[in-house]
């Protein structure tokens, strides 16, 4: 034994991987000869490493799919990016809220979307569906506002107010209850004199807390935020600067209401 350094875990691992220099190898082999129990374990671990490699060998031997060629990746990148931005509603891709910064999720990744992403997708989808509705834009009209808010508050488990957006030219049309996976969501619809519609979306079961996030999906712009277990979105066919003060007004009108879920007025 030429190397007097004591044998360490790292030596044994390198022995399993066949990454020891000759001197060290001799030292480890001598050590293992004195430690038959450990030698047996090391032998098994080496066989298992080989088995793992063998089990996966077929995968690496497959011809690579054409879609994974760098040329294909390059070609699809541009179209994918466009698609990704365009198909926010379809849930094709959204930036997730991980601390490490967002990446673009893709495919039918419905189940991997973070709460704010889901709120955004659902809110924008609901906006698109009902904002164009002529005959039945709402389930309960604004003239039954008290009843509407009582009902939605009860279903959401949170007191819901209808923010006053008159200063922006929008008046309440009414609202409706929507499914949001296992939870309930409410949509309040507003309209301005020109017939342009704006929706306020509130959804239960959206844990977390976020700042305002802006989304532009085609013509529909949204501000989305999470607060106290609820997700909120304000959507309209408007520009960012136009929508922001409205979203702030909505935020202020709805802020802190969830704590009063128990004493919903009836």
């Amino acid at each position: 034994m030429s190397d007097p350094t004591p044998i360490g875990e790292d030596d044994l691992q390198a022995f399993i991987d066949g990454r020891l220099g000759e001197d060290r190898l001799a030292a480890v082999e001598a050590w293992l000869a004195d430690h038959p129990q450990r030698a047996r374990d090391i032998g098994r671990e080496r066989a298992q490493r080989d088995a793992l490699r063998a089990a996966l060998a077929a995968k690496a031997a497959e011809p690579i799919p054409a879609r994974l060629r760098i040329a294909s990746i390059r070609a699809s990148r541009r179209s994918r990016l466009t698609l990704v931005l365009r198909n926010l509603v379809a849930g094709l891709a959204l930036v997730t809220l991980g601390a490490g910064g967002g990446w673009l999720a893709r495919g039918d990744a419905r189940s991997v979307t973070a709460p704010a992403t889901q709120v955004t997708r659902d809110a924008v989808a609901a906006h698109r569906i009902f904002a164009v509705e002529v005959a039945h834009p709402v389930e309960v009209p604004a003239r039954e506002e008290a009843h509407l808010l009582r009902w939605l508050s009860k279903r959401l488990g949170r007191e819901l107010a209808a923010p006053d957006l008159a200063e922006f030219g929008f008046h309440l049309v009414g609202g409706r209850l929507l499914p949001a996976e296992a939870d309930a969501a409410a949509q309040l619809m507003y309209e301005d004199a020109g017939g342009r519609r704006l929706t306020v979306y509130v959804r239960a079961g959206a844990p977390g807390e976020t700042a305002f996030r802006f989304w532009q999906d085609g013509a529909v712009a949204s501000f989305v935020w999470l607060d106290q277990g609820y997700g909120f979105a304000v959507s309209a066919e408007a520009g960012r600067d136009q929508l922001l003060p409205i979203a702030e007004t909505v935020y202020n009108a709805l802020d802190g209401k969830s704590a009063n879920a128990g004493d919903v007025k009836s």
């Binding site: 875990e9 671990e45 793992l52 089990a55 996966l56 995968k59 690496a60 390059r74 990446w103 991997v112």
Partner: protein, 168 residues
């Protein structure tokens, strides 16, 4: 062939193997690799020219998996376990480890232990590269590698695996 293709395409078989071992689903594995390659292409100018390209690419793929695919799996999307590309093994091999068995045991490990075993033992990254991919110091990688191998061995040894599998 362009520079990226020349440097990256030789890594694709290994990336697919690593992705498959993590996802245990052929389609999901290629989706993961595709996401990884898109990142590689779009961030090509950000790579460190003096750095280890292979470690960089594996890091991207592993992070993508940890951040998204892994979460999806934890949330219960079906993963086709029976769809593994494990070649059939002749019965009665008492000495040799059965290949299907070792994959099943691997599935029982947490992601980090899986990745350590795969990156070192299958992808043959150096310990230093593996440390880079996992964002751990070299010494930590060595002790975790040691622990991961011991854990896999325990799962594959019936007498020791028993208490781990007992469900009461």
């Amino acid at each position: 062939m362009d520079e990226i293709a020349r440097q990256i395409e030789p890594l694709i078989p290994g990336l697919r193997r690593y992705a498959f071992a993590l996802t245990r689903d052929h389609e999901a594995a290629d989706d993961l690799v595709q996401d990884c390659l898109e990142r590689v292409v779009s961030r090509w100018h950000l790579r460190r020219r003096d750095g280890d390209l292979r470690a960089w690419v594996y890091t991207i793929q592993r992070n993508l998996f940890v951040n998204e695919y892994h979460r999806r799996r934890r949330r219960g999307v079906a993963v086709a376990l029976e769809d593994a590309c494990v070649p059939p093994v002749a019965p009665g091999q008492s000495q040799a480890v059965e290949l299907g068995e070792v994959m099943a045991a691997l599935d029982g490990l947490p992601e980090e232990q899986k990745s350590i075993l795969l990156l070192v033992g299958v992808e043959e990254l150096t310990y230093q590269e593996t440390a880079g991919v996992l964002g751990l110091p070299l010494g930590t990688v060595m002790s975790r590698l040691s622990r991961a191998r011991a854990r896999l061995r325990a799962l594959l040894e019936p007498e020791r695996a028993m208490p781990l599998r007992r469900v009461k």
